[in-house]
């Protein structure tokens, strides 16, 4: 037992020395000629040959008949749902509004009551800030919102409930950044399908989001192939299979413990061969602190890129996540260059305020919101609706 203590001490000491080396070094900033190599660079993995278990004929490379529509295809203009199950994506906004109104009105009400009280003293402002913090918006953002609002109220001399409300709405909207492109790129380009990767930490709802997204696309008349690259968690690929079979989307999967990169590669290969519109790859949940797993994720993406461009990397964030969400987003963005965020479990009491910080820091827009366990509870994110719903 004692030796462990010694070892521990030794480790601490070595860490201290090594740490000192680095920290001093980094503080002195870049030594010329020696830039830190990006963490992405790892040995090039060789993709396993695309041998498909779900027998697909092979090389009939017929270019897909459908002309690719405009690049941006936020499920906005739905085609007629020809397949039996999923309804098209229209009408989801109503649901979003209803759900958000249910879950978040408390916040809006509280804020409005505060804002419209006759005297906005120091305490009231503090309380507004606190209320925003309670929504997981984060201390920094909350402070900034309150500061801005305060200045505006002072300048305009407003006390009117509606005006203050409008100001708050404006301020929140400004924080959520309306200008970002929130379309999910699902349209095929040329003879290649669009490739979407779904990533995130454990238990945020990646597989569910993948399934729902497939449903939306099928509902809009697209063809979809799912790749079950979560080969780690028990029964994850079965879970995806269930989703896939509900909408008739083939699922490319391998035995548990298989190389996720090869599954992803096969899924894309299958997608190309079948001439489908979109390939969605579900990856295993991984904590952003596990470097090995993050490297693996980077590898999955690189391997897929040998076959086709990855159009969209969706980071699935749980609305209940607190300030840790920012760290998650940062690391994932670094490793796989996240292009969009799917905010899930927004139907609960959680406000998902962390996206404000994430968007601000990384500039990655929220593209989708998950609103429950129902198969159609996925909607495109609309900041206006989001903020309006918050304000009740």
């Amino acid at each position: 037992m004692e030796i462990y203590l010694y070892a521990g001490l030794a480790i601490v000491l070595v860490l201290a020395a090594v740490g000192g080396f680095f920290l001093v070094r980094t503080r002195r900033s870049v030594a010329p000629g020696e830039e830190d190599t990006a963490p992405e660079v790892t040995r090039a993995p060789e993709p396993t040959a695309p041998q498909d278990r779900e027998k697909d004929g092979g090389a009939d490379l017929l270019p897909p008949a459908q002309a690719p529509p405009a690049q941006e295809t936020a499920p906005a203009a739905p085609a007629e749902p020809e397949l039996e199950t999923p309804p098209p994506s229209a009408g989801r906004m109503v649901r979003l509004r209803a759900r958000l109104a249910r879950s978040q009105s408390a916040l809006g009400q509280g804020l409005l009551n505060l804002l419209s009280s006759s005297s906005l003293d120091e305490d009231a402002w503090e309380e507004i800030e606190d209320t925003l913090i309670t929504a997981d918006i984060g201390v920094t953002s909350a402070t900034q919102i309150v500061e801005n609002l305060r200045t505006k109220v002072k300048v305009l001399g407003t006390r009117d409930r509606d005006e203050v409300r409008a100001l708050l709405r404006e301020e929140l909207l400004a924080q959520i950044r309306t200008d970002a492109d929130r379309g999910v790129r699902t349209a095929p380009h040329g003879d290649r399908p669009a490739v979407i990767m779904v990533v995130g930490v454990n238990g945020t709802g990646k597989t569910t989001t993948t399934g729902k997204l497939a449903r939306v696309l099928v509902g809009d008349g697209r063809t979809v192939v799912l790749g079950a690259a979560d080969t780690f968690r028990a029964a994850a690929s079965e879970q995806l299979q269930t989703w896939g079979s509900r909408v008739g989307a083939p699922v490319v999967r391998k035995e548990e413990g298989a190389d996720p990169a090869s599954v992803a590669f096969d899924a894309v290969a299958r997608g190309i061969a079948d001439g489908v519109d979109t390939v969605i790859i579900d990856t295993a949940g991984r904590l952003h602190t596990k470097t090995g797993l993050m490297d693996e994720l980077g590898k999955v993406k690189r391997v897929v890129e040998k076959k086709s461009r990855v159009d969209e990397v969706l980071l699935v964030l749980d609305a209940t996540t607190g300030q840790n969400g920012l760290r998650q987003a940062r690391v994932f963005a670094e490793v796989v260059n996240v292009t969009g965020i799917a905010l899930t479990k927004l139907d609960g009491t959680a406000k998902g305020g962390i996206i404000v910080q994430v968007q601000r820091e990384l500039g990655v827009p929220v593209k989708l919101v998950g609103l429950g366990e129902g198969p159609d509870d996925l909607a495109p994110f609309d900041p206006e609706v989001f903020v309006d719903a918050i304000l009740g």
Partner: protein, 532 residues
């Protein structure tokens, strides 16, 4: 970005050097910083308010201790309060008088219930129980299959009469599982329920129905350590809807600060019983309040570091590492290299450094650390001759140039490494000689370590014969120590960490590292090393 509380407080107090007592303004300024730190750790706001009020009150009455500066003192108070809230009585599982004991898991979607069920089953079997896992999550697609796989890995039978995916009645499954357990001599039943939201009345009713059907002895609320401010609502909703007796925190292996633990404990008064710290089935343990406190305050986590080492290295490696600490020879660059390579196995260096106390202010730099730089360090050392490695003093200017050229680095890098090394060596020497600084003679270190102890004893005998024998204090200490060790080996007493490790002074680390004094280490004085 994320500053540690201690750094914040240090800056608040920097103007107050030499004050004998905390003034009201000091306390208020401090309160604001503590508030921010807690909020950033996702402690729920109402809890923060209460907490701050208590801290303020205590700080006012506190006499100023001579040993601690005001910042340290406040942190000490905060830390103590945190531990008190988080700790309380340690909860054991209440076993039913008439088996089977029924344990029900409840929580939000994705909190990790199914995985935890497997871990719990494994943990229980290790204590000679015969648990039965019950798949009552019939909601999520293939949750049943997942539990079956998990059960198989844990070597525990799974009761799954319904296929799931929306088919079947979980209440009925739960009820039948009890009969099944009685028939098959399972003394514990672990029921995995579907994830549900606090606001989902229908699902909460279902959970309540399950509870009523099986009248569980323990209901455990499973919650993700990453949860934010919503923890309060959710915890309360589950308490009202189902009620629970204890909490299990999952995903603690991430870098979330886990303020939720504090929130839930404070709001509901339910103790936190288990902590789940990884994806493997063994990554499961009882909850340590003191570590959690340090984590919430971001004060580093040396213990986790040590435990991680324990998990990663095998006996021989550890012994090799320890022997450099215990041996009488001077710490050389070879040892340094060897240890560095071992440390590397523990994971990315940035993470490890993050666990060191007082690293908060360096967070930005830590984030920028690239493990590739370790390769450079290695290259530098390997470009040295064996002579240079064992006697770094001989590395003069021209040698430095040669080493730099040989390793493809700059001379300044070599300089830096050598300087750092000398500092480390100095500390190492100090530790070996006067005992550790602040760790007088390391008393009470006996116990199981056979080889290591012998080696150490030998080293000390040698040492005694050499220059240090002139120190009567030291000689006495060694004598005492030997006696104590003999005694303890007989009694095979639980080894304790030396009090100095956490209590009083800390081993002095290289100055560049702590940035002017290490803000206090977590209090390790009552920490017991886990059984090997």
């Amino acid at each position: 970005m994320f500053e540690t509380l201690s750094d914040r407080l240090t800056s608040v107090f920097s103007s107050l050097r030499g004050k004998g007592r905390l003034s009201e303004e000091d306390i208020n300024a401090t309160a604001r910083e503590i508030r921010l730190a807690l909020l950033e750790a996702d402690v729920a706001l109402p809890v923060v308010r209460d907490f701050i009020a208590r801290i303020k009150e205590r700080s006012r009455g506190e006499e100023v201790s001579k040993a601690l500066n005001p910042a340290q003192q406040v942190i000490k108070i905060v830390n103590e309060e945190l531990i008190e809230i988080l700790g309380g009585e340690t909860r054991q599982i209440r076993y039913a008088k008439n088996p089977p004991t029924v344990i029900m898991l409840a929580g939000l979607q994705g909190a990790g219930k199914t995985t935890l069920a497997g871990k719990l089953a494994k943990w229980l079997s290790a204590q000679r129980n015969t648990p039965l896992l019950v798949a009552a999550d019939l909601q999520r697609p293939n949750a049943v299959t997942q539990l079956q796989v998990v059960g198989e890995r844990a070597g525990t039978p799974v009761f799954a009469p319904e296929p799931g995916n929306g088919v079947g009645d979980p209440v009925e499954v739960a009820r039948r599982s009890i009969e099944f357990a009685e028939r098959n001599n399972h003394n514990i039943v672990v029921i995995d329920t579907a994830g549900r939201l606090g606001v989902d009345t229908e699902m909460m009713q279902q959970a309540a129905d399950i509870r009523d059907a099986v009248s569980p002895d323990e209901i455990i609320f499973v919650v993700d350590a990453m949860i934010g401010q919503d923890a309060v609502n959710t915890a309360q909703a589950f308490l009202d809807g189902v009620g629970y007796d204890a909490v299990a925190l999952t995903k603690l292996d991430g870098d979330a600060r886990g303020g939720a633990a504090l929130s839930i404990r404070h709001i509901t008064g339910r103790p936190i019983m288990f902590a789940s710290t990884g994806e493997k089935l063994d990554d499961f343990d009882l909850f340590h309040p003191d570590r959690m406190a340090s984590r919430i305050l971001d004060m580093g986590d040396v213990l986790t570091l040590i435990e991680q080492a324990q998990r990663t290295f095998d006996e021989a490696e550890v012994q090799k590492m320890a022997s450099t600490m215990a041996s009488d020879e001077d710490f050389t660059l070879d040892d340094f290299l060897q240890q560095m390579m071992m440390v590397r196995k523990l994971g990315p260096i940035g993470n490890l450094l993050g666990m060191m106390p007082g690293m908060g202010q360096m967070r930005e730099q830590i984030d920028n650390i690239d493990d590739k730089a370790l390769d450079r360090l290695q290259a530098i050392i390997q470009s040295m001759t064996p002579g240079e490695r064992s006697n770094p003093k001989m590395i003069n200017g021209s040698r430095r140039l040669r080493i730099a050229n040989g390793s493809g680095t700059q001379v300044s890098d070599v300089n830096n490494l050598v300087t750092r090394f000398f500092e480390a060596q100095k500390v190492m020497r100090k530790m070996k000689n006067g005992g550790m600084p602040g760790i007088p003679g390391m008393p009470g270190m006996g116990g199981g370590g056979g080889g290591g102890a012998r080696k150490k004893a030998k080293a000390q005998q040698k040492k005694k014969g050499k220059q240090r024998s002139g120190n009567p204090m030291k000689a006495r200490q060694q004598e005492l120590e030997r006696q104590q060790r003999r005694k303890e080996q007989q009694e095979n007493a639980q080894p304790q960490l030396p009090p100095g490790f956490g209590g009083g002074k800390q081993p002095q680390l290289p100055p560049a590292f702590g940035g002017g004094g290490m803000p206090n280490m977590p209090d390790l004085s009552d920490f017991k090393l886990p059984e090997k």
